[in-house]
Symmetry: C2
Subunit: 153 residues, 2 copies
C-alpha cells in the first residue's frame, strides 16, 4: 500500500539538496499525520503548536516545494479552493467527505476508455486529468441516518 509518507518527504528533501529545517519538520509532521485535507492557514495553526515561531509565509513556501517534489497534492473544491493532502506516490485521486472533510486517496481511476473515446471524438490529445469525488464518509453517513431517524419520530 502507501509508503510511509513522512519518511519519503524527508528523504526527498535531502535528495534534492534542500535543507531539513525545524519549521519544515513541523509542517511535514502535520501534513503527514493529517486525516484531513488542510488549508495553508490550518497547517500554519497546527504546526505552530510544535514550532510557535512559524510564519505563514513559510507554510506557503514549503507547500510549493513539497508540491513540486510530488509529496503533497493540491485539492480543489467548488467553493474555497486550495487545500493540501499528503500524496501517495504515483497517480492518484481523492475522495473527500463533504461533511467532515476526511480525505482518502484512490488510484485506479480507470478513465482510459473514456479518454480514448473522447480523443477519438474530439481530436484532443488528452494528457492530464483531474478527478475528485465527494460524498459522505461512513461515519458521517451513519450520523446522518441516525438524525433522520430521530427526526422521523
Amino acid at each position: 500500500m502507501a509508503t510511509p509518507v513522512s519518511f519519503g518527504m524527508r528523504d526527498g528533501l535531502r535528495e534534492h539538496r534542500r535543507k531539513l529545517t525545524r519549521p519544515r519538520q513541523a509542517i511535514l509532521d502535520i501534513i503527514a499525520a493529517a486525516e484531513h485535507h488542510l488549508t495553508p492557514a490550518e497547517i500554519h495553526k497546527r504546526a505552530r503548536k510544535k514550532y510557535p515561531h512559524l510564519g505563514l509565509v513559510t507554510v506557503y513556501r514549503t507547500l510549493d516545494l513539497l508540491t513540486e517534489l510530488g509529496y503533497v497534492r493540491r485539492v480543489h473544491f467548488n467553493d474555497g479552493c486550495h487545500s493540501y493532502v499528503a500524496a501517495a506516490q504515483g497517480h492518484a485521486h481523492h475522495l473527500v467527505c463533504s461533511n467532515c472533510g476526511k480525505a482518502q486517496e484512490f488510484e485506479n481511476c480507470d478513465l482510459e476508455p473514456l479518454i480514448a473515446n473522447l480523443q477519438r471524438k474530439t481530436g484532443f490529445e488528452i494528457n492530464v486529468h483531474m478527478l475528485e469525488l465527494m460524498g459522505r464518509c461512513p461515519d458521517c453517513s451513519v450520523t446522518a441516518n441516525a438524525m433522520a431517524k430521530k427526526a422521523r419520530r
Copy 2:
C-alpha cells in the same frame, strides 16, 4: 445537442424575475460567444468594449447569479482557479486545451462503475464528482507537431 445558450440565459433571467440590464447583456454576450473559459477579469475586459462603464463588481455578481441559475459553470485549474464557461444543460464536464484554453463540454463521463466500486470498498456515499480533462486541442496539437518538425531540421 446543446441548446442556444444565450437565449436560454436571457429567458432564464426573465423566468426568475431578474432584470435584463445592459451590463448583464454585455456579460451574457461575452460568455455565450466565448470559445474559451474566461476569468472574471477577462470577461470584464471584453465586456467593457461593448459597455465601457461596466464595473468588475457587476461581473462577479452576474457570474454568481448565472452560476446559481445553472447557465454558467465554474472551471477549476491546478494553478489559478476560477474560470467560467457557458454551461450546457444537465450534467457535464470539461475538456480544456492546456495551450490555448479552448474548452469543450462532454456529458457521458461514465463514472458509475468506478463510483459503485469505490462505494463498496470505502463505505463512502458518493454524490458529487468533479472531472476535468486537459490536453492539446486539435489545432494546438498540429502546431506543436509542426514546430517539432521544424526543430528537427
